[in-house]
Amino acid sequence: MFKRIFFGFVLACQATLVHAEVHKVSQKGKAFSTQALTIKPDDTIMFLNDDTISHNVFSSSEGTRFNLKIQLPGTRNGQKFGKSGAGEIRCAIHPGMKMKLIIKE
């Protein structure tokens, strides 16, 4: 019984590892590298600051709320998202930087 549960747990972990993807989004020239992105539940977005100035990626939308805080040039920060939702990701400093995010299976 214990063995079965253990194997089940390992399989579940592997399934998660296989399915959860990491999407890269670059910030350069005060713009995101994409204007819209659709990801799967539990995926992560890696935000790379490829600019010469700092950025502050965040979302105040209900389904995608987060705040990466100040991100210096040359740094990267990952943000894991939930099961579902949709919203807008912005830079708190530069209002021209916007991208749509959809999380769905």
Binding site: S54, S60, N67, A92, I93, P95
Partner: protein, 338 residues
């Protein structure tokens, strides 16, 4: 550091004449970033028409859009003061002093957001807020629509501008926004003539100032492009308790004490400076940046740091900023319908 920036930085250490002669190609390439945009952008649901501009012109100058019948949009956004009021802080209903300085409308058609804290996303949205604000024009929108509807001339003009839409909050906002988009476009300044190829349009000191602006003084990190702003929000170290955009986003540290980067068009004619008029002259503004901000809070922009500008650097920057001034577009005080 990009090749162009490296070359510009090296130029600072060369004599101005040689620098400009030897680096013409590089500087010209950099100058491309400041070429003016000509076509005014309009939103899909409020395209341009002469009737709309004319109606907006009347509404902009009409003090009956205030509870006192005495304050119009133009009271604070006076074209004679480069679409500002020249005061450290604006004055509103009952001559009460408001917490912030009147922002200029110059080139407002291209702005990414409105007010010092960027709380309005469009000119249409912006136009209605000071009318309703109790400290400013203090008129409810229903009273505004009522007052305008009772003025016979306006009924005809609204029908021409927005057929079958009537006099509503929306059509008032749309007309004012249309006028503002057109009237506030800055005219060609000496800097623009220099960018276009008139080598004598600005002095050698101003040309040195332009290089400094883009390199050592780092002004162009935010005051970029032909409008001299990227509309970004920063705490630049102005003293005071006003949290600016932080009041809208209390959880975002970089937004605390942060205000919108204003255009530098006509900046030499628009003293005093900052969101609260706390810097009296441009010399004071340059000093604020030179010391890396007057108050160093956790929210201070990473771009604001001591600059070590020499006396000559400051003079050159000042000379350069003076080349961004030009008279506003010719605008008339219109005859208002009764």
């Amino acid at each position: 550091m990009s090749g162009i920036r490296l070359v510009l930085r090296v130029l600072l250490f060369l004599s101005p004449g040689i620098a400009m002669a030897e680096s013409q190609t590089e500087v010209q390439r950099y100058m491309q970033l400041y070429m003016r945009s000509n076509a005014i952008p309009y939103p899909e649901d409020n395209s341009y028409s002469v009737a709309r501009e004319k109606l907006g012109h009347l509404l902009f100058f009409d003090p009956r859009l205030s509870a006192s019948d005495w304050i119009s949009c133009a009271s604070c956004h006076n074209p004679g003061f480069s679409w500002g009021d020249g005061l450290p802080k604006a004055r509103g209903h009952g001559m009460k002093t408001l917490p912030r300085r009147t922002p200029t409308l110059l080139d407002s058609a291209w702005m990414a957001s409105f007010f010092w804290d960027g709380r309005a996303a469009t000119l249409e949205e912006q136009a209605l807020l000071p009318i309703q604000a109790m400290g400013e024009m203090a008129l409810s929108l229903s009273e505004m629509v009522g007052k305008l509807t009772r003025i016979k001339g306006y009924n005809v003009l609204f029908e021409k501008a927005y057929p079958r839409e009537g006099i509503t909050e929306k059509t008032v906002a749309k007309a004012i926004a249309t006028y503002e988009r057109v009237a506030s476009v800055s005219t060609e300044a000496p800097f623009d003539r220099w960018i276009k190829g008139d080598t004598q349009a600005i002095s050698s000191a101003a040309r040195r100032g332009f290089v400094l602006f883009n390199t050592k003084a780092a002004c162009s990190q935010c005051h970029s492009g032909w409008r001299f702003t990227d509309d970004s929000f920063h705490d630049i170290g102005v003293r005071g308790d006003d949290k600016g955009r932080g009041a809208l986003f209390p959880d975002i540290e970089v937004n605390q004490f942060a205000f919108k980067t204003p255009t530098l068009r006509n900046v030499a004619w628009r003293a005093p400076y900052m969101h609260d008029g706390s810097e009296t002259t441009l010399v004071d503004v340059i000093e604020l940046y030179n010391v890396g901000g007057r108050e160093k809070r956790a929210s201070l922009s990473t771009l604001v740091r001591p600059l070590n500008l020499t006396e000559q650097d400051r003079k050159d920057l000042l000379e350069f900023l003076g080349t961004l001034s030009s008279p506003v577009r010719k605008t008339e005080i219109p005859m208002l319908p009764r």
